[in-house]
Amino acid sequence: AAGAAGGAYWVDSQQKRYVPVKGDHVIGIVTAKAGDVFKLDVGGSEQASLSYLAFEGATKRNRPNVQVGDLIYGQFLVANKDMEPEMVCIDSSGRSSGMGIIGQDGFLFKVSLGLIRKLLAPKCEIIQELSQLYPFELVLGMNGRIWVKAKTVQQTLIIVNILEACEYMTAEQRKQALAKLSGN
């Protein structure tokens, strides 16, 4: 499908493999700590680098508490086909604006990039309907990764299954599934 907004045209396509783009917000998994820099797996062809100073309020003495295996929500500062991608958890004015280390617990899973774009659209129906079911925390990464945390493990897994199934369900089927769950 093509859309026009103020003279810009783009072509929407479906894919699962993520290619880093400058400015995209993604969820990365810390794979290594090498001195002043963390290496993150973002699902692309190369690992992204993240400096320990690229967090809000980080100084050489006040380092962020990042361990291997942690989840980080950040955006790409540098992303092109010739160089290793670089990430930061801080925006251009120096504030974190929701980026940083994602807390403990919760569940991380992978979906296609098209579904992420659908969920990120303003007034997304899926998210509104799910929030009426249970309260939960949600982080969407443009690299196809979603992190969910609800009050109990069972609620978390139910939300995960619905989001994964939204890939192939029509709106009608989704409303039916949610009605059954809230009825229980």
Binding site: V78, N80, D82, M83, E84, E86
Partner: protein, 186 residues
Amino acid sequence: SGERLCSAEEATAGSGTYTRHGFIFSSLAGCLEKRSEDSGLPVVSVVRDAESQLLPDVGAVVTCKVCSINSRFAKVHILYVGSTPLKSTFRGTIRREDIRATEKDKVEVYKSFRPGDIVLAKVISLGDAQSNYLLSTAENELGVVVARSEAGVQMVPISWCEMQCPRTHTKDFRKVARVQPQFLQT
């Protein structure tokens, strides 16, 4: 190599040889060469190749091809020293602060070079333990001479910092070399 060539009284030691205990030995694996000098004794030398390898010297202008870039430096293969091609390529590094002479802090390696570009550079140091020559393009006559656009077409320089693709008309940033008009082929 290591063979005893002759006695030190019969000849003088030349390049690729050394003298020990009154005899001349070869220090290289190669061909023996005996030249007669006017001043009496012939000169014995050992040559490895038919032509001696030309090594880039400090201050020499070299032609190189960019193989990879980084936010701090660009790695290149040195192809020509002056106008002579090298039989085996040497490795070189152009650090971010050596790309331009002015405004060194604002330099972005991604906006100066890309992998595959042909660059004219000057040798500033013979390099570190990894035998990477240290190169600089901090002059008007140094920088990118040949670059291809994303479409695969050779780009035309517009200014010292931009090149344009003649087919798609997209502009790309490069640190362009100001080549003397007599060297340009049209």
